[in-house]
């Protein structure tokens, strides 16, 4: 399953909830959730740990908009909108943690 998160991890519990409940699969960070993919963010440790269980992707255009494309945590893969589409096709279902 593809888990889509769109909230900053320091403002909202969506990513925390996803990591608590989902056991494995893929995660895509979009919109304000891209901050979770950046090194130096207080959430970085949780992302590094989550990388042991999940493949984690981040929407590159949203990172660029926020001026943080050069700070992606190692192991998190940037994708464009086409890559986003591909992730929804290679996974049987997707869930947006709104």
């Amino acid at each position: 399953m593809l888990h889509i998160i769109n909230k900053s991890p320091l403002a909202n519990n969506a990513l925390d909830s996803c990591l608590r409940v989902a056991q494995s699969g893929e995660i895509l960070l979009i919109e304000d959730a891209v901050y979770a993919a950046t090194a130096g963010n207080a959430f970085e440790g949780k992302i590094r740990k989550a990388l042991e269980r999940f493949r984690i992707h981040v929407l590159q255009p949203d990172l660029e908009a926020r001026g943080l494309a050069d700070r992606v945590i190692e192991g998190v893969s940037p994708v464009d909108y086409g890559g986003f589409v591909d992730l929804t096709t290679t996974n049987k279902t997707c869930q947006s943690w709104l």
Binding site: M1, N13, A14, S17, R20, V21, A22, Q23, G25, K92, T93, C94, Q95, S96, W97, L98
Partner: protein, 121 residues
Amino acid sequence: MSNIKKFMFVNRKAPYGTIYALEALEVVLITAAFDQDVSLVFLDDGVYQLKKGQQTKGIETKNFSPAYRALEGYDIEKLYVEKESLEARGISEEDLLVDVTVLGRAEMGALMDQQDVVLSF
């Protein structure tokens, strides 16, 4: 019907502060009419939707919580609540309006993985 899918509705938001809980319920009721396999999940603040004793007169808004009791009449009987979400809020099963199945977080995650369509509110 040959075309039965597993629909899961994930409720993560508290009632009244926003409309998501109410409008989610409206979708659930419609889905029942399509003879699909319907599950409702309550996580995080979504568990508050099922709290007994809601009295909305003071906020001049309709109390929609009785509708959860009506779900059974629409053959919607799969209601799941996450144990960890209840505990973090000091809410027990006895506090809830309806009978539910309480699942631990890993069981809940496994149940999500079995779905065909997940709508989250």
